[in-house]
Amino acid sequence: MGEAIVITSGKGGVGKTTTSANLGTSLAILGKKVCLVDTDIGLRNLDVVMGLENRIIYDLVDVVEGRCKTHQALVKDKRFDDLLYLLPAAQTSDKNAVTPEQMHKLIGDLKQDYDYIIIDCPAGIEQGYKNAVAGADKAIVVTTPEVSAVRDADRIIGLLEKEEGMEAPKLVINRIRSHMVKNGEMLDIDDITTHLSIDLIGIVVDDDQVIKASNQGEPIALDPNNRASVAYRNIARRILGESIPLKPLDEEPKGLVAKLKKFFGVR
């Protein structure tokens, strides 16, 4: 019996889809059987980031409306040997085409066959959000070091804490830019975690390679040498229960780490 994790944020564009793609990829690299589920109906793009767009035949709405069997809609990622699949969102229907009850059932079925179900949630707190969290056991909240993103993360955490049977959500801080934190132009990690008072599970730097990789349909996590990739792989290992210390920036060259620690208030 697998585990379903919803990736959510409240605010749009902070990196939910990027995080979903890279956590799914990292978990598959670690040998887990993973199904990615895109619930952003009408604005799907997890398939693009994964480079699986051209192989879509059926989608989420086809499955819940019974036009196909679940396995027929799953797109296999050929880079992995039968470990990574994607259930794409519908591009043409609207968000109300699916109900939370249907999602709950669907995710429950997928949990029979996969170790991890990673659910990419749309922005906002309406129907799409409700669908995405309906079947989830755990939640990861993604934020960037901006006041507006943190504010929306707070709102979402409040909602997630009310979900029955859901574990306390974990936090990913995405797109940290060390020089801006240094200059006091961005919220630092301490500010964000004390404000939101939930556990931090990862910090990801802002890196142009992430955008480039997404554009090419090759999630950055496939590159073992990239800083953001290391961060995503570390999050995946923490999900598996490994205790990997949270460094302010998982992959800054030494020397600088010590310097940065001061700015992050890490002792």
């Binding site: 504010r151 929306d152 707070d154 709102r155 955490i157 409040g158 909602l159 804490e161 404000h195 008072s197």
Partner: protein, 228 residues
């Protein structure tokens, strides 16, 4: 016709330094009571025209007056221009009243972070162990005590109790309200604030000050009895 047989038995008028006290019997029927009151007030109290009005207190004993009954009673007394009603007292209240009185004097404690979009409301005092984040709101019929940072909205004395206070370990509210008084975010303190702070109403405006001042300006916060 018992009031004919026992005249003046159900309404007893006593004079005091402050004015008059009407003791109303609580076992006769209400209509009988009003009839007798009417008669007694018209018969005995023909005061001269331009005298100052006389204060009247009413005691209804163990009789519970509905709102409607109370207003009928007031009408009869007010119809005699000489009288001014100071108050109506009864030895009994309804269960609902008793409940809300108890709630209004109770402290509700909770350990939580009040996040953006969340609203907490209590009838009495609130003791919150945790923060109120921006976009979150706490309100209370009485005082609000926050062991944590107040960064959202706090509304004390929601139903008009203007002596209510708001205290917080870290006072960085986006808005503070006490009764109908309202204070936007206070000017950012240039020096980092060192201790806990409180907010209270003084002279029609909300003041933010150090916590220690409360024992002087709000002695009613002290419910400790005995010496120390």
């Amino acid at each position: 016709m018992s009031n004919k047989l026992l005249p003046n038995a159900n309404v007893i008028i006593k004079g005091t330094k402050e004015g008059l006290t009407l003791h109303l019997d609580d076992s006769c029927s209400f209509d009988m009571l009003l009839e007798e009151l009417e008669a007694k007030l018209s018969a005995n109290m023909k005061a001269p025209e331009n005298k100052p009005s006389i204060s009247v207190r009413v005691h209804t004993g163990y009789r519970y007056l509905t709102e409607q009954q109370e207003s009928r009673l007031r009408d009869i007394i007010a119809a005699k221009k000489t009288f001014k009603i100071e108050g109506i007292q009864s030895n009994v209240i309804t269960i609902d009243e008793a409940k809300s009185q108890r709630e209004a004097s109770e402290i509700t404690s909770m350990a939580a972070v009040i996040r953006s979009g969340q609203v907490i409301e209590v009838p009495g005092d609130l003791l919150l162990i945790g923060d109120v984040n921006p976009g979150g709101q706490v309100s209370a019929g009485g005082n609000i005590f926050i062991l944590g940072a107040l960064k959202g909205i706090a509304h004390a004395g929601k139903y008009g109790k203007l002596d209510s206070v708001i205290a917080a370990s870290v006072m960085k509210p986006s808005q503070i309200r006490i009764g109908d008084y309202l204070n936007g975010a206070p000017e950012p303190n240039s020096e980092e604030q060192s201790g806990m702070e409180c907010a209270y109403v003084d002279n029609g405006q909300i003041i933010i000050d150090r916590l220690q001042i409360l024992k002087r300006i709000r002695p009613n916060l002290n419910r400790f009895e005995g010496g120390f």
